[in-house]
């Protein structure tokens, strides 16, 4: 049977059942965000498990300051264990890597977005960008025991592949997870009326961000 043999659907024929429309997510409330700042487990869920609700916050421009604070706290605190595994005096380096690079590149994202006509406020952009370091920090929190185990069981001096090499891979995975989460938020934020130019700006901005991040990794001694 070829395509030509298949009769065209008649206008009166019932259309195939379509997937029910996804329920619109509610924005995160300031009270929920404040509660997550008091409970680290809730903070994990806020950062990792609610991209559609975060997108609703971006659309409605609500709870911006609280969200930005929560993300900065998450990006700082949850990155500490991984830094401690690298060395006691490196506890701040992972937060500096992800959050520092984001902060350095934040003005460019905001200015370029506004310049091409994206109608978002500075806090919305800050929250969106802060998803990257916050999610990456969460992943490094999960990877910290893995790195500690690798460090305890591997030689670092003479080995072709050392635990520091594997640390770079884990940090890259965490970064990819953070960038992936940013794009999921954008994907869910269908209500943003200027989403297309924002997507274009973000694509270009990632180049700048990654360049700065690699330089930051060099400066912090996190690359071999």
């Amino acid at each position: 049977m070829t395509d030509a043999d298949i009769p065209p659907p008649s206008p009166s024929a019932p259309s195939p059942p379509s997937r029910p429309p996804r329920a619109r997510a509610e924005p995160l409330l300031s009270s929920e965000i404040a509660a997550s700042l008091r409970n680290p487990l809730q903070l994990v869920d806020l950062v990792l498990a609610t991209p559609e609700r975060l997108a609703a916050n971006l659309e409605s421009a609500s709870a911006g300051p609280a969200l930005a604070l929560a993300f900065v706290v998450a990006a700082t605190l949850f990155a500490v264990p991984y830094g401690l595994v690298i060395s006691w005096d490196s506890w701040w380096r992972i937060a500096a890597l992800y959050l520092g690079s984001t902060l350095i590149c934040l003005p460019s994202l905001y200015v370029f977005a506004r310049y091409v006509g994206v109608r978002v406020g500075p806090l919305q952009i800050a929250v969106l960008a802060a998803t990257v370091p916050a999610v990456a920090a969460m992943f490094t929190f999960g990877f910290a025991p893995v790195l500690a185990f690798l460090r305890a069981t591997m030689e670092s001096e003479s080995a072709t592949i050392s635990w520091l090499d594997l640390s770079q891979i884990l940090l890259a995975i965490a970064l990819v997870a953070g960038i992936g989460r940013l794009w999921r938020c954008i994907l869910f934020a269908r209500g943003l009326d200027t989403r297309q130019p924002l997507v274009l700006v973000l694509l270009g901005w990632h180049g700048v961000f990654l360049h700065v991040l690699l330089r930051m990794a060099d400066v912090l001694g996190l690359r071999g």
Binding site: T153, A159, I161
Partner: protein, 216 residues
């Protein structure tokens, strides 16, 4: 959870014993401890990462539920491997009785057991992935994405743990020696000091050192 954990540990011990019998009673007896220790170490090291990945994929699973799900994977794999233990034990004893005291059937035995572990792992992975899909709010694709991430993490950490806890069974040439309980980061035959180097060398296939096996 306690029941599935115990079954996983006993299953691993039984399989480990059969595997170690290819070399000597010493290795077989040590494997009774080493194989369960391998599972416990891997799960302890990966626990937080498994949970973070599950949260990131919107699974809705709590920390406890994640550990339960992963131990069910271990449980199924260990049970399947334990069922192969009589066959492995038989082959191990035959190999031991007939080997040349040098390399013997080491490579074939290793390949067969790696194949067995892979088949059991994939079967457990497919079944538990399906159960995860049914019991949680995950879509099928996301349930398998989650199980794949867990598997990758487990392989990466479990591989290094296994390398560190060597030897599980060795060349017949080393029979009669009493190696340390764990060889740790001591170089293997090709000089790899960790699992990832060993994988790299398996892919690149560098020649064995000329002094080997007389140097071992």
């Amino acid at each position: 959870m306690i029941r599935s954990t115990l079954i996983a540990l006993v299953g691993a011990a039984v399989y480990g014993f059969a595997l170690g019998s290819a070399h000597s009673e010493l290795y077989a007896a040590r494997n009774l401890v080493k194989f369960p220790a391998l599972l416990v170490t891997t799960s302890a090291v990966c626990a937080t990462a498994w949970w973070i990945v599950a949260r990131a994929l919107n699974s809705g699973l709590s920390f406890r539920a994640v550990q339960h799900a992963v131990w069910r994977l271990f449980h199924d794999s260990a049970l399947l491997l334990a069922s192969l233990a009589p066959a492995v034990l038989f082959c191990a004893r035959v190999l031991r009785a007939t080997d040349d005291g040098n390399l013997g059937g080491y490579d074939g035995f290793l390949a067969a057991n790696l194949g067995a572990v892979a088949v059991c792992g994939v079967l457990a992975f497919a079944r538990q992935g399906t159960q995860l899909f049914r019991s949680s709010s995950l879509t099928r694709a996301r349930a398998f994405a989650l199980a794949t991430c867990w598997l990758a993490l487990t392989l990466g950490v479990g591989g290094q743990a296994a390398f560190y806890m060597r030897p599980f069974f060795g060349f017949p040439l080393t029979r009669g020696n009493t190696p340390p309980f764990f060889l740790g980061a001591e170089p293997d035959a090709r000089g790899a000091t960790n699992f990832y180097e060993a994988v790299l060398q398996t892919l690149e296939r560098p020649p064995l050192p000329s002094a080997w096996p007389n140097s071992r």
